[in-house]
């Protein structure tokens, strides 16, 4: 698991030092505060660690990372990722299973990462990034755009997810917790989402009825993605899952159920990083932390990073954050309206 993260001058993440991470970790903040950016930064490091020395891949860590950063952030040159106001290099250090993975580069970097230290061991597990939008109904468009046309638009988080979903489902016994989670996911779905090998399309099956994935609710498609990755064993108990806005397109009741499933998977070993600006997500995670008495670290990113980044633990209480403040403000507005 990722133990610590130290980031400097990475886009609008000018100074991040997030330590003692847990099984589930939460990133909160307003729009444009850098939540997705931080998730993607962590994802790029993890995929570099995971792709290095896998199979017959001869690429160096630097080559893998350069490619990953380029296709994930899709800037003209990766030097553009360095904070505009920074005088120093960008640096990103993660401690993974207590071992260091660190890289640095400056604003002029185009083709070579200046400095990279990797003390982690090669691993066979996979991490995945679940973007806020579902991918099943645009599955072929993503593949064509990226693999055939080599165009910017869908970043590597989308392409990697589509490729992971393309792996066939495996039979045999899955981890009991995964099987239980899949059952719970299917209960939320009220049916099954499957890939039809004949039509080469995803479809939603409810009883004997089949529906094209395009007319299936967005929330169902999001839940189905997690279900498929558990079914085809792309994910295992050492995986890390990065989820951007788990709340998008989901009813608050479904958010709660999804987070309960995440709790079960986290107990089995999967580490989660969730970026959210939903009151329901934060409140549910806070209750989960209290119930399990487990640490649930969060980082609260301000819009202006000069205002300071807040690090704390949901086990200790709800964050003092604009998302929470807004729910109280709505209550205050209702009180004022009632007395008028």
């Amino acid at each position: 698991m990722i133990n610590n993260v130290v980031i400097k001058n990475f886009g609008n993440l000018t100074n991040i030092k997030w330590q003692n991470l847990g099984k589930i970790n939460l990133i909160i903040g307003e729009n444009s505060s850098g939540k997705s950016f931080l998730l993607k930064a962590l994802y790029c490091s993890m995929r570099t660690i995971e792709e290095y020395k896998r199979g017959d891949d001869r690429r160096s860590e630097s080559e893998i990372l350069l490619e990953k950063l380029y296709w994930t952030f899709q800037t003209e040159k990766i030097g553009d990722l360095v904070s505009k106001t920074a005088t120093d290099s960008l640096s990103c250090e993660i401690t993974f299973n207590d071992k260091e993975f660190l890289y640095k580069f400056g604003k002029d970097t185009t083709k070579t990462i200046q400095s990279l230290t990797n003390r982690t061991s090669p691993r066979s597990s996979n991490s995945i990034f679940l973007p806020s939008k579902e991918v099943l109904s645009i599955y072929h468009i993503i593949l064509e755009s990226r693999e055939k046309d080599k165009l910017f638009g869908f970043d590597d988080t989308y392409l990697d997810l589509v490729r992971a979903l393309a792996l066939p489902r495996k039979g045999g016994n899955n981890y009991p917790e995964f099987a239980k989670s899949r059952k719970a996911l299917e209960d939320i779905l009220g049916g099954k989402v499957e890939y039809d090998e004949i039509t080469k399309r995803w479809q939603f099956r409810k009883g004997n009825q089949k529906f094209a994935i395009g007319v299936t609710a967005e929330g169902i498609k999001k839940i189905a993605i997690l279900d498929s990755l558990l079914a085809n064993r792309y994910l295992d108990t050492e995986s890390i899952i990065f989820i951007d806005e788990p709340e998008s397109a989901l009813h608050p009741a479904a958010i709660s159920k999804l987070l309960d499933i995440i709790g079960v998977l986290a107990d089995r070993g999967i580490q989660f990083f969730l970026a959210s600006h939903s009151y329901f997500v934060i409140k549910k995670l806070y209750l989960m932390a209290r119930k399990s008495n487990d640490t649930l670290p969060f980082i609260s990113l301000p819009n202006n990073h000069d205002q300071g980044v807040e690090y704390d633990d949901l086990l200790k209480g709800m964050p003092n954050n604009s998302i929470i403040n807004e729910s109280i403000r709505l209550y205050q507005e209702e009180v004022s309206e009632a007395f008028e």
């Binding site: 209550y331 209702e334 009632a338």
Partner: protein, 173 residues
């Protein structure tokens, strides 16, 4: 004459006795009580065209597990009954259903225009933070949804600070 009402560690008022119907001290309540759940008082603020039905509490259960969830649900249900009973008691007196007690209700209550007055069911909980009050407010509004719809009334949960802001409390015990 001025009325002050001490309940749940808070002192409501002073209110003009014309504008306040202190239910607990009324003859009609003493006649009816026998376990009848009842909110503390009714209040009219003519300048704001507001009729309050007020219940005061010093605590609320935390619905963090199944057992306390039941306690929480019971708590909300009990407060709803109290507020509704107090409201209907005021109305029934005004309608003259208890001829011998009709004088208990001041002219202010008899003369108010019930067609236009804003009716506010108010739960005041001492010492509660606003982040605790918001979900309580939602729960009470959900419980009183039908009443709220039929009578076109509002339901609000506040703490003593907000009650002070709206001149319902002048000092704390």
């Amino acid at each position: 004459m001025a009325v002050t009402i001490e309940e749940s560690g808070m002192t409501f008022g002073p209110f003009s006795d014309e504008q306040c119907f202190y239910i607990e001290k009324s003859n009609i309540y003493n006649k009816l009580q026998n376990g009848l759940p009842m909110a503390e008082f009714l209040l009219i603020q003519p300048d704001k065209n507001l009729l309050y039905v007020v219940e005061a509490k010093s605590s609320s259960p935390n619905p963090s597990n199944n057992e306390s969830q039941t306690k929480f649900d019971d708590y909300i249900a009990e407060i709803s009954r109290k507020l509704l009973n107090a409201f209907t008691l005021g109305l029934t007196l005004g309608l003259g259903r208890y001829v011998e007690n009709i004088d208990e209700l001041s002219n202010c209550f008899q003369e108010i225009d019930y067609g236009s007055v804003t009716i506010l069911f108010l739960l005041v909980i001492k010492g509660h933070k606003e982040e605790w009050l918001a979900p309580l407010n939602e729960a009470l509004q959900r419980e009183l949804k039908d009443t709220s719809k039929v009578w076109r009334l509002k339901v609000i949960t506040i703490n003593e600070r907000t009650a002070q802001r709206y001149n319902l409390i002048q000092s704390m015990v």
